[in-house]
Symmetry: C2
Subunit: 219 residues, 2 copies
DNA sequence: CCAAAAGTGTTGAAACTACACCCATGG
DNA sequence: CCATGGGTGTAGTTTCAACACTTTTGG
C-alpha cells in the first residue's frame, strides 16, 4: 500500500522588505546541492495535514503563524531529487511586514530579493518563478495584497506594495478609485503622523471575502 | 526517508454528452465506500511522473490519450481515506466529444451528469465541485472549451458547450464577436451539411496558445 | 414554399485611461 | 513659509450589453 514515494511540502515565504519583494531561503548544509539555496521545506508527517505541514515549516523558519497560506502546485517529476522519488506540495505564504523579524541569521536562512535570486537547489528556481506568476495573478484579480502589509496601512503604502510585486508603476488616482470601489478595505478613522500631510489609515474589511474576484484591478 | 504517506492521483474526466456536462466515475467494488461512486484513480508508480500517472489512469478508463490534462489541486487531509494516510493529486481531463466511446460499461464505469451526481466515496463530491469551479473559471478567461469538442465545430456547437458548462445562456451575437476577436479559432473553409443553412466549421488555431488570458469572455 | 438553423449591426450605458493641481501638517 | 507627502475630478475613448431580422439550404 505504501507507494515508495516520499511526500514533502516546500513553502515560498514572501515578504516586502525595503520596497522589495523577498523570499526566505535556506542554505543547504548537505548534499545534494550543498551550499546552494533552497525553499524551506520538510517531510509531511503522517499525523498532520498538508496545510498544517506548510504552517509548521513556516513557523519553524519565521516564528510566524496565522498568515495567508495557500497551495501553489504539486511537483513530482521523477528526477527532481537525486536521492529518490519525492513529491512536493508547494505552498506560498504572505508574511505581513511587521512580523518579518530579521530571522536570526543563525541557521543559514536569509531573505533574498525575488528580482535577484541566488543559484537554487533542485527545481526551486522554477517553482519560485511560478509562485511569482501566481502572486501577481492573484493580486490583479483578487485583492490579496493586504496580507503583506501591517493591519493598518495607507493607500500609498498599499500602492507601493502592488507596484513592487507587479513590477510596474500605477496611477495614483486610478489605483485609489479602484481599490476603494472593490470594497475590500475601509477607513479606520486613524491617521498617520510624521512627515507631510497625515494620511488616512485603512484596514482590511473582515466581512469582505479576501478572495472576491473583482474585475481586473489594474491595466 | 519514506514518509509513510501514500500518493495517488485521481482524475476528473470531463466530457460533453447529450448537451450535458458529464464525468466518468467508477463504482467501488470493495470497502471502504463499497458500492458508491468514485473518481478513477490509482497509486503513483515510482517510475512515472504525476502527469504520466494521471494520463495512465485516463487511458485505462477511456482508451483515450493526448487530451488536455491539467493539475487541479492536492488533497491531503488526515482522515480522507479510512485505510490510512493518502495524499491525492487531482487532475482534470477534457475528452473531446468524438473520443467518448460508450466506455464498455463492463467494469462498473459510467458517465454521470455533473448536475446530478450520485453519492460519492471519500471527499470526491467536494473535489468534483472544485473541478467544476475551476473549469468554469478557465472557460471564462482562457478559452479552453475547444478541448471538449471535435477538431472541427460550428460556432453554435461551441456556444452550446459554453452554455452547458457555465450553466447560463449566452447571446449569440456577442458570443460570436468575442470568441472570434479572441483569435483562438479560425475558419476551416468547410461547412456542415444537413438541416437548415450550412454552418462554417471552425478549428482551434494551432499557433494560438490555448492558455491565452483574454479579457473576460463572458458576462 | 416552408422549416430549420446560420448569420449579421447598432445604440445607449458603463468602464477605462490619462492627466495636474491643491491640501494639511511638521519643522 | 516651505518641504513633504496626501488627496481629489474630468473628458475622451473603449468596451459592454441588449436586442430582431434576413439568409441559406434541404425536404
Amino acid at each position: 500500500m505504501n507507494s515508495e514515494v516520499s511526500v514533502t511540502v516546500d513553502v515560498v515565504i514572501f515578504a516586502l522588505r525595503d520596497d522589495d519583494l523577498q523570499v526566505l531561503l535556506v542554505r543547504r548544509q548537505h548534499p545534494p546541492f550543498e551550499g546552494l539555496w533552497a525553499m524551506p521545506g520538510g517531510y509531511v508527517k503522517p499525523q498532520e495535514s498538508l496545510e498544517d505541514a506548510a504552517a509548521r515549516v513556516l513557523y519553524d523558519e519565521t516564528s510566524v503563524r496565522d498568515v495567508h497560506i495557500e497551495q501553489l502546485y504539486t511537483f513530482g517529476e521523477i528526477n527532481r531529487d537525486p536521492r529518490g522519488r519525492v513529491v512536493t506540495i508547494t505552498y506560498f505564504a504572505l508574511v505581513p511586514a511587521p512580523l518579518v523579524l530579521d530571522t536570526s541569521e543563525t541557521r543559514d536562512a536569509a531573505w533574498k530579493s525575488m528580482y535577484n535570486l541566488p543559484t537554487m537547489a533542485f527545481d526551486h528556481h522554477y517553482i519560485l518563478d511560478y509562485a511569482l506568476k501566481r502572486l501577481r495573478y492573484k493580486l490583479e484579480y483578487t485583492a490579496v495584497g493586504f496580507q503583506l502589509l501591517p493591519p493598518e496601512f495607507t493607500l500609498t503604502k498599499l500602492q507601493h506594495a502592488y507596484e513592487t510585486i507587479l513590477g510596474i508603476s500605477l496611477d495614483k488616482r486610478n489605483f485609489r478609485r479602484r481599490i476603494l470601489q472593490a470594497g475590500v478595505i475601509e477607513e479606520t478613522g486613524r491617521r498617520t503622523g510624521g512627515e507631510g500631510r497625515p494620511a488616512m489609515l485603512y484596514c482590511f474589511r473582515e466581512d469582505a471575502v479576501s478572495e472576491v474576484k473583482t474585475r481586473r484591478l489594474f491595466p
